[in-house]
Symmetry: C2
């Protein structure tokens, strides 16, 4: 964290995100020497007081395998129940800032369900908490709206009280080292960048596969679905990073500008280029798992998609004619986030008369989780005669080179404290992305069943299996 003292206000401080992600990340940063003078104020509706909140925090940290210094919780953590209203919150903030001699630097982190966003933003704004002698930053978790209109409305509301350069929209995928590394990989390695266009690339495939079912999020999820929950944000963000032009500099505004340009060049996919699926009862690791409609909190006749595969085209000079396949789903066989670049084959296989051997396409596979790294598939000659081609891979694993990678939330928190918006999502990106998918939300797209533990619906015009390329 930065060296300036600040107050970190978490709205929704007794929820899962706080317990599982934010508190552990904050404490880990603290113990690495960041933000030693920072103070955390938890805000929620429950009336548990400072002591109750400190106990909740200690418990949460322990569950994450951390052993907090006693002092950290008791001296750095406060709690406020929103039952007392926003004016009361404003008073509490000023009290804490006075007690700890904080210069007015404030981060408001909305770890809230989406329907609480508007009232909270309004509350912060109307009581003037968005203005202080120091800097003020607003951190918003997804979803940023549920379609184009609601996203614009939300952004307008945010914009009424906060300047865009104060707003940090979190897409936690962007906090992953490998995602950032994707930009470095592209723009520090001239050989790859010189291959990165329609003349050399045949297609791009982006997969975000989850093993989990809907878990505890059914209430939200059943009204959202995979298109809103995953495709519009995470997968589309990955797509922009793969497809963007070289930015002028590695600065947030330059990068955002290029990302928005990519989105603007994408038309809404036609219905024929989209497959929706919903998992039904199946088997995973030899155990029966129930279908989506049997999950707690899901309507028994739900038509919500838990799987989406679709094809996009980017209509610019670099990518015209290259299909980008996006795919995500719950209850797929394994957790996997992967970007695959399939390069065009050599135009002529000069070895053909000798073994009937057809050259395979070169493939670059960028794995974002769980086993972060790069694999480059290429053909070599099998030992001996005649010439037979054999696909091998050059392989790099991030973990082998650098050891354990930091949690995405740690990376993102550091950036928020430094005021670096590179890895956060700009208003324009949110809206351009909704613009792409909005027409699909208004369509009735058939939802095909797929057995839990398989790679999606059988009725699927796209290539199937763990890898679309047949790796």
């Amino acid at each position: 964290m930065g060296n300036e003292p600040f107050l970190f206000v978490v709205m929704g401080a007794t929820g899962d995100l706080m317990a599982k992600k934010l508190l552990p990340a904050l404490y880990r940063l603290f113990s690495k020497g960041h933000g030693r003078d920072a103070v955390i104020l938890g805000v929620a509706t429950r009336q548990i007081g400072d002591q109750g909140f400190r106990a909740f925090a200690e418990e949460s940290l322990k569950r994450s395998g951390l052993r907090p210094e006693r002092d950290w919780c008791s001296q750095r953590l406060y709690y406020y129940s929103l039952k007392g209203g926003f004016e009361g919150l404003s008073k509490k903030v000023k009290e804490i800032e006075a007690r700890h001699s904080l210069p007015g630097n404030r981060i408001f982190y909305l770890a809230l369900p989406p329907d609480a966003f508007p009232s909270t933003i309004e509350g912060l704004g109307e009581t003037g908490l968005n203005r202080s002698k120091g800097w003020t930053r607003l951190v918003v978790e997804k979803p940023f709206g549920r379609d184009l209109a609601s996203a614009i409305e939300l952004n307008n509301l945010v914009g009424r009280y906060f300047h865009e350069n104060q707003v940090y929209r979190i897409d936690h995928y962007l906090g992953k080292e490998t995602v950032q590394n994707l930009l470095v990989f592209r723009f520090a390695n001239a050989i790859f960048e010189s291959l990165w266009h329609r003349d050399r690339v045949e297609r791009v495939e982006i997969t975000v596969a989850e093993r989990e079912g809907v878990e505890k999020r059914a209430g939200y999820y059943d009204r959202a679905g995979a298109l809103r929950d995953m495709v519009q944000n995470h997968l589309t963000q990955l797509l922009t990073l793969v497809a963007m032009e070289v930015p002028v500099t590695f600065e947030p505004d330059s990068i955002r500008y290029e990302k928005v340009k990519v989105l603007k060049a994408i038309s809404s996919p036609s219905k024929e280029d989209v497959v929706f699926g919903q998992y039904v009862e199946g088997e995973m690791d030899g155990k029966r798992v129930r279908g989506y409609r049997e999950e707690e909190g899901v309507r028994p006749d739900s038509e919500t998609e838990t799987y989406v595969a679709l094809k996009l085209e980017i209509d610019n000079w670099r990518w015209q004619g290259v299909p980008f396949y996006l795919r995500t789903g719950k209850r797929l066989p394994r957790k996997l986030t992967r970007i695959i670049i399939v390069f065009r084959r050599s135009p002529v296989c000069i070895f053909r008369p000798f073994g009937g051997c057809e050259a395979n396409p070169n493939i670059l596979s960028i794995t974002i989780q769980p086993d972060e790294g790069f694999d480059l598939y290429f053909d070599v000659k099998k030992v001996g005669q005649p010439v037979i081609l054999d696909t091998q891979r050059l392989c790099f694993r991030y973990r082998e080179a650098f050891g354990e990678l930091p949690e995405a939330y740690e990376t993102l928190l550091v950036d928020i404290l430094k005021g670096d918006q590179t890895l956060f999502v700009h208003r324009e990106e949110v809206e351009e992305s909704w613009r792409i998918y909005d027409p699909l939300l208004k369509e009735t797209i058939p939802v095909h069943p797929y057995r839990a533990g398989t790679w999606g619906p059988e009725t699927n015009p796209f290539p199937k299996g763990e890898s679309w390329t047949g790796l």
Copy 2:
């Protein structure tokens, strides 16, 4: 080996090459089921008879760790002493062919010192051994001449009795799997081929480093030197494979045609672009090793070069302006044959303002021995902030994928038996290559001393060290 029975006549059958390379390779092929009906006739001056030769063969095989079937030596091996003249050899050949019902397929393998080439070729030709009812092939070991004029003379003599498609000039480097794989790598992997030109490649470096000193070859070597012994053939062959255009097919004539085109586009290097060295006393593995002039058989005032580094340019559309550095030497710190392609850097480092980080060039390193494989060096982001570039490598080792590689001589023998000339050197290649170096042979180039166990002379305008690129 092929399935047709044949007679394999080795001229110089009691020498080192026969004992250490040819016999083991022949026996290994036999035990893999090739050439079960083949017969081997050793020819040399010593009068040891069939029995003496069979004992020599058994002894040689044992020293190579092979345990020959008793029958193989006693039933497949014959000997003829050239003291009896070529007419006698002709008689012996016909006798053996009759006894073993061979159809007249003959391979004449010249495992001889170069000054014995002319008389042997003439002897074979004048007695009509070059003509039979089957096929006849002539295998010649390097050196193919000692300058342009003598190479043309030798080729003319060969051409008087043998058609070029009967002639197999051995460059044993071409028998190595990795060298063949170089062509597959280039022409089966569209991504690399699309980077393989002056717009993307900054320079190419070819190193053939030997640990050994002159050993038992001083008599020949002191009159030859590294330029004749290594550069004109091995290094220049590697260069042509790296630089050649895509051949029409993977057939010998197509490939040779492209290799010759490369050679024709190379001018003789100017004296300033050549460094000669000669090793003096030094230390290797903690042991003192003597200097070249102290070696047995070397003239004490010898000015023969044991090290050459030089720069060539290929004046064609693909390579104009890209320097090719060739380097070879004896008594260098390690045995290493490696081709390094240094790609151009990204034109702009967009990360510069963030850590003063300069992107490193991408480098493809192709190791031919001892650890056959490919390494691709590229930059990634170090974990954490700020953005710091770190060079990592994607790594492929041939042995890990395919196990033990066959000996170069095995590969080459199989090709000779199949009549595949792809991996052999065409007359035109020999002469074009001599044409490049011939002017240097007429120059007086200063020979700089270098200590045994170091990477060559200090007075060297080229980058130094194991890797010129500083890998």
